[in-house]
Every structure is written in structure tokens, then in C-alpha cells.
């Protein structure tokens, strides 16, 4: 090609691009982008025509090769498959809007089908140029990041919807009787002798008995109050059949009737029990008045009052169950993971404080400065539904000879507290990180020395301890003691760069489970194939990095979100970047909460193992993006601390 032809071609291209530029300048986010970035777009974007009704890109087209920007016309995005994963099932896009940002960023097939609903012209930018543009233009990057963040947002709302449904099933009076009350009521045949029937009631510890024939059709009910009127006062012999003492023709409702129906029936007929039957009239359950009361919501204030007014561990046990229920309600009402975990922590704090106070009745530490410390996730205000105890005690003892005697008193006290906490649903720590362990019941000076030792000699064990004990928070007692520990810690770490480097090295041991071929690596836990440990390979990565940056920048907070926010300000990391990272952490935490609540048996310890295949399409995408954010955070740490 001769130079003259080249220059005339260049002029042609410049003018075609000029036409595209004129369009871009009228639409966000391009109107804010630099001239150079816009030129890249205009030089590379081809204009294509899509007649009304034609599919532009969809899941079947394989990995998305272009970023599409609508020049004119209308495009409809329709969720592929039967399950709706975003809040919209159909979304209409017009001139100046672009798609499919998530898919082209990730280099995978689109989950939506994009169809032109009118004759449509689209600029299409090849994926490699799109990625180049993302890398070179901060404005464009922000736009795409925010878009993906809004996907996160949508998914969160979707999660909440699920919770809300589950919550309303549990809580409202509109839920069917099939899910309420006893599913295996105690029943006897009508010819059962009275005495045998009463024995059965007594053994089962129930207040009512259903009398049903061989066909399992209920014919009557016998309750404790019947015992007085119809047996004792009526002088009924104990060998007559139960059918003579029962209330015949019991009130029955079918399974699909609602709790409201049951409540109405109880009020109308003055009864305390309603029998539940299937369509054939066979007994399937009993709903009592008490079951219906349990549907009522528990409120934050009642819980706080009941915690603060509790005089014994039994009362606190009830409160602990209420905390769980309320946390669940809040999850359903759309409270984010950050606030929710802090909320759980706050109520758990109140509970723990009450346990500590109650035990002070039996132990007297008058005139001694001491504080109860929380470590680990409790210390970070990041408790999920299942968290075991991590605690310790710091005390001041000016008289060195008296230290050991005083320690023994604290240990005895701590043992009582630890046991009570266990009864309230905070299991004892398997690693024995508890105040009743002499190792973690120390004077202020001992704590300081301990911290200094770990920092000076960052052996593996010291580093592990650092990840638990450096996230401490005073729960009760003399706050100043903990503050003094914190000042000491921050002074030590900032003067020991080697320690932070060792911490960084440690934090990079575990990588987010992103696969090169598949989306996720699910075989990292040998005894849990197909599952991902969301704590070990997810939230902990954020938490570890947050700790290092907090120590490096002198941040006093222990909460990971606050640590990252404050440290990033001090390190001049852009807000958008840190927000995207925090969204990622928030999402992983929310998934953990969801998993622990929805999948765990009520009242048991939930785990953090999820099978990504059971997540819906969007959650999987977002989880992947969240792991990417974790990796981004690690990359940054790697660079900052020169760890390879």
C-alpha cells in the first residue's frame, strides 16, 4: 500500500470514527471518558444492524466476543432458562445502553438472550478492545465495576426475597397448617382402655391425645382438662375405652388451611387444639394455641429487655434463641451482611455481658482493674449464626507477688462464664481460646509481652495467634486496659516491617478457589468434594488482608469492613475500588448467613461449605466476581509487601 493510499484511508477512518465520537459524547459514561479512550472505541467499534425480532447475542452463542452499545432501536434482555435469577425477567434497553457487561468482562457466554425488538443498530466493540479500554480508562472501568456491583445488589435483593418468603411462611398467619405444629401427634385407638391412654400421654409428656381409628381418621380428642371433668369428677373407671371420655367430633382442618383459619376456629369454638388432616381425612398433625403464638414476631426491644432483665441462664437461653430468630427476620427484611453481623454481635455482646454480670454475684473482684476480651470473629463484630467462644481476660496487678493468686480467682470465675455461655448457644472453643485457659488470662504486662514476642519472632504459631488475638475488643470491665494493649500492638507492628511481611506471606497461603477451566475449584477440601469452604477460601482472605493493612496504617478498629475503609483512605486507594472489594466480602458473608440459616437444621451448628452448583446462575456469577475481588486484594498485598 503506498503512503498516499494509506493517508487517504486514515482520513476515511478518522471521519468514520468522528461520526461515532459524536454519538459517544452524548451518552454516559462515554461523555466523561478521556479523548484517547474514546478514540480507541471509535476506531475499533463496528456498526451492525439487527432487524426487529433477531437475536443479537444469547447463551448459545458461546463466550461473548463483543461489547454492544445500542446506537438506535430497542433491545430486550430476557433471562435464559426457567429460573429467574435477577429481579427482572425482561429488561428493555434503548439507545446509549450497553450489554452484556458481566459476560464480556468475564469472557463467558451471556446468561441473557438479547433480542432486537425494533430495527436496531449497535456498535460492537471486540472483547479484547473492551478489556483494553477497561484497563486504560478509569471512567469506563468505574462504569463497568458499578454495573457489576449493581448486579451484586440485585442478587442481594433476590436473596432477601427468598428469605422474605421463607420468613413469611414461618411467621405469618397465611402459612398453611402443613408446616405448623406437631407433625407426629400422639394418637390411640378408640377402644384403648382409659388407663393405658393416660399412661401414654404421661410417657410422651403431652397435654393432648388424638383418638383415631385404624384408618387414621380422627374421631376424638382427649386433653388434660378433660381429665378433671370427665374422668375424675365423673368417677369414670380406668378400664373403660377412651372413646367414652374423649370429646367426639373434634375440629378438623385440612393441611392447606392457614394458621389464620386455625386461630379463628379456636376463637369461635373455644378450643385449644385443631386437628390437621390430609385430603382423605387422615390425621397428619395437631396445631395448638401455643404453636400459633410462636408465629408472632420477636422484637429487638423485647430481646434486649429480656436479656437485661434475665436473672439466670435459663432466661438467657430463651433470649439467645430469640436473637437467632430476630437476626433471621432482619435478614428477611433486607439488612445487609455487614450490618447484620454487627447486629448479631451487638446482641450476643449484651448476652455475654449479662452472663459475665450474673457470674460476678459469685465472684468478687472489687477494687481490681480487669476486662473481658473478645477475640476472633467476635472481636471483629463479624459473628454469623454459628460462632464458638473466643475470649480472654486482662487484669492489672501492681503487686507482682499477688499475680498468680489473683489469676486463679479469675480462672475460676472465667470457667463459670465459659460454661454458661456454652449453655446459651456459644459452644466452647475447641482450640481452648477461652478466659478459663491460664494462657489467655493475663495481666496487662503479660499481654504486652506476649504481643511483642509474637511480633519479634513471627514463627508460624505466632502468626496464627496474631490472626486471632490481634482482633480483640473489650466486652466488659475497664476499657482502658484494652486500649493500652491496642496502642502497644500498633506501636510494635509499625516498627516491625518484617512481621507484617510475614503476615502477608501467611495471608497469601490460601487463594480464592477460582478455576482456570471451571468457574470454581471445589476439590480443595479432600473430605468435602464438590464444596467450597466460604470462610476458609472466602471471607478469611478479606479478613486477613484487612488486618495487615489496619496494623500497617495504625487503624484501631477490628471490624474488617471498617479496617479496609479506613486503611484504604490512608493508603489513598480509590473509593470505587474499595467499595467493589467490600461488596464482594459482603456477598460472601451473606451467602454464609443464608447457608447457615436456610440449610442448617434449626438450633444446630451451621457450616460454611457450599456447593456452587446449587447456587442460581446469578449468584454463581457474583460469587465468582467476589472471589475475583479477593484475588485483587491479594494481588495488591503481594505488591505492597513484595511477597512472591
Amino acid at each position: 500500500m503506498n503512503p498516499l493510499e494509506t493517508s487517504l484511508r486514515q482520513e476515511g477512518r478518522r471521519r468514520v470514527a468522528g461520526n461515532t465520537l459524536a454519538f459517544l459524547k452524548n451518552h454516559a459514561p462515554f461523555d466523561k471518558m478521556g479523548a484517547e479512550a474514546l478514540q480507541v472505541f471509535a476506531d475499533k467499534a463496528q456498526l451492525a444492524f439487527h432487524p426487529a425480532g433477531s437475536e443479537i447475542v444469547g447463551p448459545a452463542a458461546g463466550n461473548v466476543r463483543f461489547f454492544y452499545l445500542i446506537e438506535s432501536g430497542k433491545v430486550q434482555a430476557r433471562q435464559a432458562g426457567e429460573v429467574t435469577v435477577t429481579e427482572y425477567s425482561i429488561l428493555s434497553l434503548g439507545a446509549g445502553e450497553s450489554f452484556p457487561i458481566g459476560a464480556v468482562t468475564a469472557g463467558r457466554p451471556s446468561t441473557n438472550t438479547y433480542t432486537a425488538v425494533e430495527d436496531t443498530f449497535c456498535y460492537q466493540l471486540p472483547a479484547e478492545d473492551f478489556l483494553r479500554l477497561m484497563a486504560s480508562s478509569p471512567e469506563f472501568n468505574l462504569f463497568c465495576t458499578q454495573y457489576i456491583a449493581s448486579l451484586l445488589d440485585q442478587s442481594r435483593r433476590q436473596l432477601q426475597l427468598q428469605f422474605a418468603q421463607r420468613a413469611s411462611e414461618q411467621q405469618t398467619l397465611n402459612s398453611p397448617l402443613a408446616g405448623i405444629g406437631s407433625r407426629s401427634p400422639v394418637s390411640v385407638a378408640p377402644e384403648t382402655p382409659l388407663r393405658a391412654a393416660l399412661e401414654k400421654m404421661s410417657q410422651a409428656g403431652v397435654g393432648s391425645l388424638v383418638i383415631a381409628g385404624e384408618d387414621r381418621q380422627p374421631v376424638g380428642v382427649f386433653t388434660r382438662s378433660d381429665l378433671l371433668d370427665r374422668v375424675v369428677l365423673a368417677d369414670l373407671p380406668h378400664d373403660v375405652p377412651i372413646s367414652q371420655a374423649m370429646s367426639a367430633n373434634p375440629f378438623k382442618l385440612e393441611e392447606h388451611a392457614t394458621a389464620y383459619d386455625a386461630m379463628l376456629a379456636m376463637a369461635t369454638h373455644g378450643i385449644r387444639h385443631v386437628l390437621v388432616t390430609d385430603a382423605e381425612g387422615k390425621l397428619t398433625g395437631v396445631v395448638s394455641e401455643r404453636d400459633l403464638f410462636a408465629l408472632q414476631r420477636v422484637g429487638l426491644r423485647q430481646i434486649r429487655q429480656s436479656i437485661e432483665g434475665a436473672h439466670n441462664v435459663e432466661a438467657l437461653q430463651h433470649a439467645a434463641a430469640d436473637v437467632r430468630q430476630l437476626a433471621f427476620n432482619m435478614l428477611a427484611q433486607g439488612v445487609g451482611a455487614e450490618q447484620l453481623t454487627q447486629f448479631i454481635s451487638a446482641l450476643n455482646d449484651a448476652l455475654t455481658r449479662r452472663v459475665i454480670q450474673l457470674n460476678l454475684d459469685k465472684h468478687n473482684f472489687e477494687g481490681i482493674d480487669w476486662a473481658w476480651l473478645a477475640f476472633g470473629s467476635e472481636g471483629r463484630d463479624e459473628q454469623t449464626f454459628s460462632t464458638d467462644q473466643d475470649n480472654g481476660i486482662v487484669f492489672a496487678c501492681p503487686d507482682t507477688d499477688a499475680v498468680d493468686a489473683l489469676r486463679q480467682r479469675f480462672l475460676a470465675y472465667a470457667l463459670d462464664v465459659n460454661k454458661d455461655l456454652d449453655r446459651c448457644g456459644f459452644p466452647l472453643c475447641k482450640g481452648n481460646i477461652m478466659a478459663s485457659n491460664p494462657q489467655w488470662c493475663l495481666t496487662l504486662d503479660e499481654w504486652r509481652d506476649q504481643f511483642s514476642n509474637w511480633i519479634r519472632v513471627p514463627q508460624p504459631e505466632a502468626l496464627l495467634n496474631a490472626t486471632i488475638f490481634f482482633d480483640f475488643r473489650p466486652l466488659f470491665g475497664k476499657i482502658e486496659l484494652a486500649e493500652s494493649m491496642r496502642r502497644h500492638l500498633l506501636a510494635q507492628t509499625s516498627s516491625n516491617p518484617m512481621f507484617l511481611r510475614a503476615m502477608a506471606h501467611n495471608a497469601l497461603d490460601v487463594e480464592p478457589p477460582l478455576g482456570k477451566i471451571r468457574d470454581f475449584l471445589t476439590d480443595l477440601e479432600p473430605d468435602q468434594p464438590g464444596k467450597i469452604d466460604l470462610k476458609k477460601y472466602g471471607s478469611r482472605i478479606f479478613v486477613d488482608v484487612a488486618r495487615i493493612y489496619a496494623l500497617a496504617t495504625g487503624v484501631h478498629n477490628t471490624n474488617s469492613v471498617q479496617r479496609l475503609r479506613l486503611a484504604s483512605k490512608r493508603l489513598s486507594i480509590r473509593d470505587e475500588e474499595i467499595n467493589a472489594i467490600l461488596e464482594g466480602l459482603d456477598f460472601i458473608q451473606l451467602l454464609r448467613l443464608q447457608h447457615q440459616y436456610l440449610e442448617g437444621e434449626p438450633g444446630t451448628q451451621g457450616d460454611n461449605l457450599i456447593n456452587p452448583d446449587t447456587l442460581n446462575e446469578l449468584d454463581r456469577r457474583i460469587l465468582k466476581e467476589s472471589f475475583r475481588q479477593a484475588r485483587k486484594l491479594q494481588t495488591r498485598l503481594k505488591l505492597d509487601y513484595q511477597v512472591n
Binding site: 476515511g12 468514520v16 456498526l47 451492525a48 444492524f49
Partner: protein, 222 residues
């Protein structure tokens, strides 16, 4: 522009062309024509528009050529475009010849798409004949004649370009468009036309060119 007319139409003559231009003409003549029996997807169409001082190819002057390729399945390719501006030209006669050759090399005998072939083709034919001694007879696709045949529901008679743009809901882009903006508008009409003709089973470039020829012939003689 005082000497433009002289420069373009009188100064040169095929006998006195510079050697490199003669060689280029020879090379261009030997260039094989692209395969036109291929599906539209594989064909490189060139959408072209010109600027002139008036509408009469015999007496008015050509001021510029703007062209862009529509290829790879009917897409406007910014990297495959051409713009020649005589209006701001200040070179010698040999440069004019070389520029005209550059356009031929760029076009590479691709089928040309424009609005109203007698106008656009008329100017180009005269210029290439007079300056380079070339009979410029490319394969034409004439939107002016094809649109009323293919989009009968919009109009079945010849219309000025702006009215077509309006019927298709394309923004005409203000009062005056430069040659490239106009070319890009034509490109859009052509993109829509490509989809329509494919629906009507006109699937190759050769058949589209035939259709264009037939439509203008039928219209003129009936």
C-alpha cells in the same frame, strides 16, 4: 479552488501520465475481480458518496469522495474507509492522478453501493476517463432504485434520500451532512437492505447487482 477545474479536467492526459501512475493503472487492470457469487457475508461492499459543485456530471466539478466498507456480515468497518478531498487540495497534477489511483486501489474492484448511480457514477466515469484514460465501470448497487422495490410498504416510488431516512427513522443529522456522514447514512440503509434482500432469497452479491440493474431498467422503461 481557482484552478481546480483546470487541474482536474484539462491539465492531465493519459499520454503524459507519470510512470508510477501508468504502472499502477496496469497493476489495477490485472487485478482479479472479487468473487461475486459468494454470500453477502463474505463480500466486501463499498458504500460511496461524492461531493460536487452541481448535479451535472458533464459540466460540474467533483470535490470529494467518501467511502466505507460494509463487510463481514454487513458491518460498517471503521478501519476500512477512504476519504479524498479535492476542495482543500493544493498539489500538482500528478498528485491528483495518484489520488485517483489510490481510490481504485482501495476499492479493489469491490461492488460499489450508492444513491443514484447516474449522478455518482457519472462524475467518476468522466474524471477517470479524462485523466487516466480508464473506463470506470464498477458493479453498482443503486439504493435509489432498490429501496422502493425492496421496501414497498414504505414507498413504491423513487424518493429523495432524506425522505427515505425519515421513513426509516434514521436521524438525518442536521441540515447539512459532510460526505462521510452521508456515506454512513447510506451504509445504514444498505445494511437494512442486505437483511431484506436475504429474506427475499437474493443471497449473493451477483444477484443483488442484477436486481439493482433490473430495478432501474424496469422503472425507466415502464
Amino acid at each position: 479552488m481557482f484552478s481546480l477545474k483546470k487541474l482536474l479536467f484539462k491539465a492531465g492526459s493519459p499520454e503524459h501520465l507519470p510512470d508510477d501512475v501508468r504502472a499502477a493503472i496496469e497493476a489495477w487492470r490485472n487485478l482479479p475481480a472479487p468473487e461475486l457469487d459468494d454470500a453477502h457475508f463474505h463480500v466486501r461492499y463499498l458504500v460511496i458518496d461524492i461531493v460536487s459543485t452541481g448535479l451535472n456530471p458533464d459540466s460540474d466539478e467533483l470535490l470529494g469522495i467518501a467511502a466505507t466498507a460494509v463487510s463481514q456480515g454487513g458491518m460498517v468497518q471503521p478501519e476500512d474507509a477512504f476519504y479524498l478531498d479535492f476542495a482543500s487540495f493544493d498539489g500538482d497534477s500528478a498528485t491528483v492522478d495518484r489520488q485517483l489511483m489510490a481510490f481504485l486501489q482501495f476499492a479493489a474492484k469491490a461492488p460499489l453501493v450508492t444513491y443514484h448511480v447516474p449522478y455518482v457514477g457519472g462524475f467518476l466515469q468522466r474524471l477517470y476517463k479524462e485523466r487516466l484514460g480508464i473506463n470506470f465501470e464498477p458493479q453498482w448497487v443503486d439504493l435509489a432504485w432498490l429501496l422502493p422495490v425492496m421496501f414497498e410498504e414504505k414507498s413504491h416510488t423513487l424518493l429523495p434520500l432524506d425522505q427515505w431516512l425519515e421513513l426509516f427513522g434514521l436521524e438525518a443529522g442536521g441540515a447539512r451532512r459532510d460526505a462521510m456522514a452521508n456515506t454512513l447514512m447510506l451504509a445504514r440503509l444498505f445494511q437494512m437492505l442486505l437483511v431484506r434482500v436475504t429474506d427475499k432469497d437474493i443471497t449473493t452479491a451477483a444477484r443483488l447487482i442484477d436486481e439493482s440493474r433490473a430495478s432501474s431498467f424496469l422503472r425507466r422503461t415502464h
